[in-house]
Symmetry: C3
Subunit: 200 residues, 3 copies
Amino acid sequence: MSFLSIIDILGTFAFAVSGAFSAMEKKLDPFGVIILSFVTAIGGGTLRDVLIGDTPVAWLRNGTTTIVIIVAAIGTMLFGKYLKRFTSTLFLFDAFGLGLFTLIGVEKGLELQLSPGICVALGTITGSFGGVTRDVLLNNVPLVFRKEIYASVSILGGVLYLFLLQVDMLSHLATIISILFIVVFRIIVVRYKLALPKFY
Amino acid sequence: MSFLSIIDILGTFAFAVSGAFSAMEKKLDPFGVIILSFVTAIGGGTLRDVLIGDTPVAWLRNGTTTIVIIVAAIGTMLFGKYLKRFTSTLFLFDAFGLGLFTLIGVEKGLELQLSPGICVALGTITGSFGGVTRDVLLNNVPLVFRKEIYASVSILGGVLYLFLLQVDMLSHLATIISILFIVVFRIIVVRYKLALPKFY
Amino acid sequence: MSFLSIIDILGTFAFAVSGAFSAMEKKLDPFGVIILSFVTAIGGGTLRDVLIGDTPVAWLRNGTTTIVIIVAAIGTMLFGKYLKRFTSTLFLFDAFGLGLFTLIGVEKGLELQLSPGICVALGTITGSFGGVTRDVLLNNVPLVFRKEIYASVSILGGVLYLFLLQVDMLSHLATIISILFIVVFRIIVVRYKLALPKFY
């Protein structure tokens, strides 16, 4: 199992747990909790694959994803109280997930030889659309549009990656640096409660 | 016209009527009522086809579906009061629709040689996502996540179908048994107001 | 640059501005405003392309769209107060956008040799689904289902276009007449506050 697929699983797990917590707050039944976990974890990659026409979409072809999500959802329902103690661990998983999912999205765009701006957009969609779907299904205005900087970190990480490739850095190294950039930036944002200024 | 396509039309009709009733409750205009009927009836199959990449999606290729839905929506607006008397008839259509749509979804997964869990997921998406879209458009938390067992019945019906195929039952017979299982289970659930236990 | 692509850009611009205004009313952050502009402007064409399987969807292949939208969103945030004075100009852009997007959708259906009713449906989806997505993300019941006639104008425009083609009018002339029909009809609807009668 490669380094990337391990982080992929951790990211999927973290996103699934976050979906399960949101669903439990809204008093959904266990089936609803599992679906929300699912949607949060696969929403971004699914929208990306549908937009570029890479179907059947990824999770239909990869059984591991489904198993990880169901384990995460049931685990959260059973041990939710204990997991809350590990908020900072979960936050790290989520940040890694955002980083990795962003890079996977950018890579997919490059494979299709789409323009740089579009590649970055695909990265951001992959990283943040799962959370948007979660919030829409739970009847909230999507968090990513309102609170602390989230998607913007993903955008900057994607731009950094394209820049590093441009200056002929090895693709492998550029990937790791960009993921770390996103993770560290997210930690700084959350620690110092950074938000985009509203200039209107 | 085959047996299955007749039930397909009845299921489409029932889902369309349920969408129209929901839209009328929220005081939408007649156009809104038709769209909600449409979305409720074709939402599940559309998401399934988009996810597996079987496009143009089914209702774009089959004019009958559109006609059935428009007739159902206009009929509900004109005769809504009388239809309410037939609630139990409508509920039966809906249950048959859920059964058939679930089986169609599972079958599509098998054709694509996807894994069993994914086939069941496609069945559940086909059977229940129309109602989810209806609720999201009307700004409700999707009913399927909150109330009496619905999607879980579809999951169990899908699993039963795969099991019957596994023990070498004729595909045709397995289909009928699984649809009846879903219909009967739904009747029991609604009569006895069964809900999933919340163990968190 | 052709006549149609100029109107396309104006329509995209107008839809993007309307998305930005809606987002600013709901106090989204600048990133949220840009995303809402984006979704409003490309939502209809994206759903159409996904349903018919014409992927990667249009805006992934056409960088101009993205630039126009970002300019529109940032411009609205900076100069929103001044733009409000030009409400009637914006309304005209929006009406032209609706007309053009409708015609593009119908044309796509004809290319795929889909049935007339389906072609009209694709036109209406292209013209009005961006606004639906905007409203769903902002947690409103979609405006198009509730207020003054909007999607119905698009439907009638699509039907008119198919009729004009049927009587052997030149495709180019039929396009212009149908767009003008939609624009003029929208002006009449808004000036006289026309709404569909609720006959239930």
